[in-house]
């Protein structure tokens, strides 16, 4: 296993591999989105308490999950880059941040649009909402730190440290509804008790989550490829690609 993994840890061999994978992940994202929206709007029943407003859940919860998963994956790659000094991990961490920030914003935005009709407020300073907002600031801080430091190696080290320290916030978001008395409802799905949702609602939500994952992988791999081209622009193999693919 190990030799294979290390082979693709080199940017020159990862670049074409990622290029072959992107269309598949993109197509999977599109298909799963269509399926998820169909299930969410036409199969899942109306909620007896919240009426049709609950249908926001099919993007709100997947986006919120993604915002946390992506952060952990980003922190993982940042840590890998710090420990082993591998360039590809640094590219990976860097490329995950904008998509993570995007999903954090979507979670907050759809949360506000859901909170208004259900709680009567767009925003409350409750533990769940506040810690998710801090997550957005962590993403933005990570990206600005990258942008502010010119030397790419130093930028990766400094922002990698920030990513690792900020990872503490993720369990805080996740458990906030248990640790504090929050307005935000608790999890509808738990590892130990299963789900309290209708099966079709749950399926739609999981399909949308999978769609967001596929979307994330396609976008992030494309971004990693750009990072590789930029950093390796003086190498022979990039010159060949550039000569071939330029218009």
């Amino acid at each position: 296993m190990a030799p294979n993994w290390f082979k693709y840890a080199s940017p020159a061999s990862f670049y074409p591999l990622a290029g072959r994978l992107v269309p598949w992940f993109g197509a999977a994202a599109a298909l799963l989105t269509v399926l998820g929206l169909y299930l969410g709007f036409f199969v899942a029943p109306t909620d007896y308490k919240q009426g049709e407003a609950y249908r926001i859940i099919f993007i709100h919860v997947p986006a919120a999950w993604m915002s946390m998963f992506i952060y952990l994956v980003m922190a993982f790659y940042a840590g890998l880059g710090l420990v082993f000094n591998t360039r590809l991990s640094a590219f990976m961490a860097r490329s995950l941040a904008p998509t993570g920030a995007l999903f954090t914003f979507i979670a907050l935005w759809t949360g506000a649009l859901w909170g208004k009709p259900m709680w009567g407020a767009w925003w409350v300073w409750d533990a769940r909402l506040t810690s998710e907002l801090i997550l957005l600031f962590l993403y933005l801080g990570y990206m600005s730190l990258q942008a502010a430091i010119e030397d790419p190696r130093r930028a990766a080290r400094a922002s990698g440290l920030l990513a690792l320290i900020g990872a503490v916030n993720v369990p805080i978001i996740y458990f906030s509804v248990q640790w504090w008395n929050t307005l935000h409802q608790g999890a509808s799905i738990s590892m130990s008790q299963g789900s309290t949702m209708a099966a079709t609602m749950l399926t739609a939500m999981l399909v949308m989550t999978l769609a967001f994952w596929m979307y994330t992988i396609a976008v992030v791999l494309t971004r990693v490829r750009c990072e590789i081209l930029e950093r390796e622009r003086h190498s022979e193999w990039v010159a060949e690609i550039a000569a071939r693919e330029a218009r």
Binding site: E230, V238, A239, A246, R247
Partner: protein, 60 residues
């Protein structure tokens, strides 16, 4: 369920479609953004390296 009923979302149209529309637009912007970044980058690298390799290429 009629089409009008569907779009009304039981009176929650603003909140439901406001969520979905903004999500779709933002994701679209991100996709267009990375594709454009890649295109501009390849063009820029092509100019640098293409010029170095000489004008042997034809077409577009």
């Amino acid at each position: 369920m009629s089409l009008a009923e569907f779009f009304d979302m039981g009176g929650y149209a603003f909140y439901v479609w406001g969520s979905y529309l903004v999500t779709a637009v933002l994701m679209l912007i991100e996709v267009v953004g990375v594709i454009r970044r890649r295109r501009t980058l390849l063009d820029r690298l092509g100019r640098i390296h293409g010029a170095a390799q000489g004008a042997g290429r034809s077409g577009r």
